[in-house]
Symmetry: C2
Subunit: 337 residues, 2 copies
């Protein structure tokens, strides 16, 4: 069965090059995919020339406008009726595409997705979910920045969405769901996380493990980590920054002595493996959860490898949804509580 | 001039051993310090036997009660009138000691410190400040967990306290002060950080650099990082966890191949340097800022090296305050705005 993915060719710091090349990369290993390319037709054609297979498997939809990083969400919604971002999302809403991917302005992308795809019944606010590396694989973190202030109900809904996501995308039968807090004891935290914790404890089908702390994020004790968008965004970026910082120190230290340099030479394949395992590009592709359609957000600064990964996330989610609709499963679960 | 430090001998997971040995370690390099030891007299004497120099430079104050990790702040205040934590703090309040150090229950320690030492004029809530490693040294982060929900005014006061702390403790003339947020653009974040940012911009003497993101924490672009206690605590612990996680992966990868092992052998002094540079024990010793007295909090799980570092933080702050009182400087600054 062919999966059709809609791409915002103009979104992101390195667009359109990364979008076209990322799509071409995916196509070389995944022939059962087709692309709907939204953006400036002449620009797209110019880039497509180098990728004849992609050209054959693509449908170009010319758009006269672009949502930039400076575009306010309200302007993306009220103005810019012919933006590549909007049109790419609309392709999912009207059934032309199975999922959409954009590396553009997060705020505008979320706002447009909410309006065009609409939120699932019982979900007050969609969340941004991302994969985070752990000692034994990956976990799902949400919300990573869509909702800076969250109610108890928002957090409970995020937990339910993350739970289903982990089951479907990570193949975990009974995902361990944790709520990020400043301590693990019941008395810790503010009223919102405490109340959310009490509600989650009462959900009979959820494997809720209680509060977890910042240093548990990578430690593989939870498959789903729930938090508000402010904390989640800062924790996610702090992780990325810490990895960058530590590798910087290692590089600096190893290159400043003879034995350090020698050690690097001897172990360079090992160092390559380590860097590959923690490569943030492998984790690119955040999912907007809680919508009646699949929308994946790539990091704005993504390169080809990273963008291809985001496309891959969209492809896998879309393929999963051919058999069982993700959104309907979430709606059914929300109704149960 | 002798500096007198008051120690809660019974606080922390590894008390009293780490407290006594940590104090003995400091004394071996810093003879101009004296200790007031609060706790069970027979236990203290039993441990002191091994450290004759410390025994000579210590005054033991027997306390019949202990604040444990399970003690609620309200019980530490209303009950437990003879706890080692309370008495150690009181020694600062009544001028017997220049600073107090405890590895005990953070909530109880902060609550008791607030009541016994009282907050500075113009400061609504004290904050926990900690040193964080950066590519070019360290920076000061606050609040690291005292105030889970903060107002705009709280954040502005934290910025002022952090600014003075960085000048006095890090010797930076005009510290770069940043406000942690989900983006650097002015429109990013919720109302509280946006309003705090506007107020900070108007402070003529502060070198306010605007919003910074999670991945900037270790990148040395700010000397003072201001945030609410919920986000700060989670960011701090996420950093610690990330370092642990990355070193775990490096160790695992290097020990799983011949060249990895060889590389480790050749570079082991370099690896030791790297681990030492990022050793979290070096950053142990969080300061309760905004009180009329110096109170330093050690990590509850601290070992001797880590606890000695917390004592050292208290010693340096106390020594600084002999010449110019920290609190008075903060009060004067707050009055200016």
């Amino acid at each position: 069965m062919t999966t059709r993915l809609s791409l915002d060719v103009m979104g992101g710091d390195n667009a359109p090059q990364i979008v076209i090349e990322g799509a071409a990369q995916i196509l070389s290993s995944t022939p059962e995919v087709e692309f709907l390319l939204f953006g400036d037709k002449s620009v797209i054609l110019d880039h497509l020339r180098h990728f004849p297979l992609l050209e054959k498997k693509s449908h170009i939809h010319h758009c006269s406008e672009v949502v930039t990083n400076d575009t306010k969400p309200v302007n993306a919604i009220r103005g810019l009726k012919d933006s590549s971002m909007r049109k790419a999302i609309e392709a999912v809403a009207n059934g032309q595409a199975d999922a959409v991917v954009s590396a553009g302005n997060t705020g505008a992308y979320m706002a447009l997705s909410k309006i065009i795809l609409r939120t699932l019944e019982g979900i007050d606010r969609p969340a941004i979910s991302a994969l985070l590396p752990t000692i034994n694989g990956v976990c799902i973190g949400l919300d990573m920045g869509a909702n800076l202030e969250c109610t108890t109900e928002n957090l409970v809904q995020f937990a339910i969405m993350g739970d289903i996501m982990a089951q479907r995308m990570l193949g975990i039968k009974s995902p361990r769901v944790g709520l990020l807090n400043v301590g693990t004891e019941e008395v810790k935290g503010h009223a919102i996380v405490q109340q959310a914790s009490m509600l989650l404890k009462e959900l009979p089908t959820m494997n809720y493990i209680g509060f977890i702390e910042g240093d548990d994020v990578n430690h593989g004790i939870a498959d789903v980590i729930v938090t508000d968008g402010f904390t989640g965004n800062i924790a996610l970026k702090t992780l990325e920054g810490a990895a960058h910082f530590i590798f910087g120190i290692i590089k600096e230290s190893m290159s400043s002595s003879f034995f350090g340099k020698l050690s690097y030479l001897v172990g360079r394949s090992t160092f390559r493996d380590i860097k590959a395992r923690l490569d943030p590009r492998k984790y690119n592709g955040a999912v907007f959860l809680g919508l009646r359609g699949i929308a994946v957000k790539s990091h704005g600064g993504a390169d080809v490898v990273a963008f291809a990964n985001a496309i891959n996330v969209a492809f896998n989610l879309a393929k999963e949804s051919h058999s069982l609709n993700f959104g309907e499963e979430i709606e059914a679960k929300i109704k149960e509580i």
